[in-house]
């Protein structure tokens, strides 16, 4: 039987969760995620896999704390970029901008840290990869800006007791 999961509501419990995550204890990951998301909103989670893959690549193998912090950082950036009451489209694009930005930072740090350590071929590969990541990041920013600039028709949906204003209308779709 595994060790007991510490209480996320106490300081000591939070410390122990972080410590165990650093040591690679996978049983604390759900508690760690709860801890890092104080108020977990319903996120459009199209980028989950990309976020996960990037965070895993950027953190030391087995260091779950760093991995989860990177994931949370990307989510937080996306929330900030989306702003208050974003449409699903804006939310999705903001998420892409956040992921692309993290990808740029990561590739840039890799290029700097490993500069001149490999063959010319690998240096060239890293340089091209960083250039591609920068292009993707700029394209994602442009797409978000364009969607914000377009005056898309708004529709109000009431789901349960929540009011949601969205600007995604599909003509001929369900009313």
């Amino acid at each position: 039987m595994g060790k007991k999961i510490p209480d996320v509501n106490t300081t000591n419990g939070r410390r122990e969760i972080m410590k165990r995550a650093e040591l690679g204890d996978t049983s604390v990951v759900p508690a760690l995620r709860t801890m890092l998301r104080e108020d977990d909103d319903e996120l459009l989670d199209a980028g989950h896999l990309a976020r996960m893959a990037l965070a895993r690549a950027a953190s030391k193998e087995g260091d779950l704390l760093t991995r989860e912090i990177y994931i949370r950082q990307m989510e937080k950036d996306a929330e900030e970029l989306a702003g208050p009451n974003p449409s699903p489209l804006e939310k999705m694009l903001a998420e892409k901008v956040a992921i692309s930005r993290f990808r740029c930072y990561y590739y840039e740090s890799l290029s700097v840290l490993q500069l001149g350590q490999g063959t010319l071929q690998i240096d060239d590969h890293r340089h091209k990869r960083l250039a591609r990541a920068n292009r993707d990041f700029l394209a994602a920013c442009k797409a978000l800006a364009q969607v914000r600039k377009l005056e898309l028709p708004f529709v109000q949906l009431n789901v349960a007791e929540k009011q949601q204003v969205q600007n995604l209308i599909v003509p001929g779709g369900p009313a």
Partner: protein
């Protein structure tokens, strides 16, 4: 491949060992780089799949709302629908 005769004796043996160590270091370096390229390829593939999905969703949503992409750049409202 270039072969160089370095003679015989203890000095030649030391040189041969050094050359073998250098060859081994180069082989390990190439292996590390191959692994790095493979890791990068997988990571880039994950991002590309995600990115293409988002772009496709964006395109579908905007086209459904009556927009079209002008010369693969700016999204514009179709003619006659500007005020609708």
């Amino acid at each position: 491949m270039v072969r160089e005769y370095i003679g015989t004796g203890p000095m030649a043996e030391i040189e041969a060992l050094e050359a073998a160590a250098e060859r081994e270091a180069r082989r390990l370096q190439r292996q590390r780089e191959r692994e790095e390229l493979e890791r990068d390829r997988r990571l880039d593939e994950t991002f590309s799949t995600y990115s293409a999905g988002v772009d496709e969703l964006l395109r579908s949503a905007l086209e459904a709302a009556g927009y079209h992409q002008h010369k693969r750049g700016e999204w514009r409202r179709a003619r006659g629908q500007e005020d609708s």
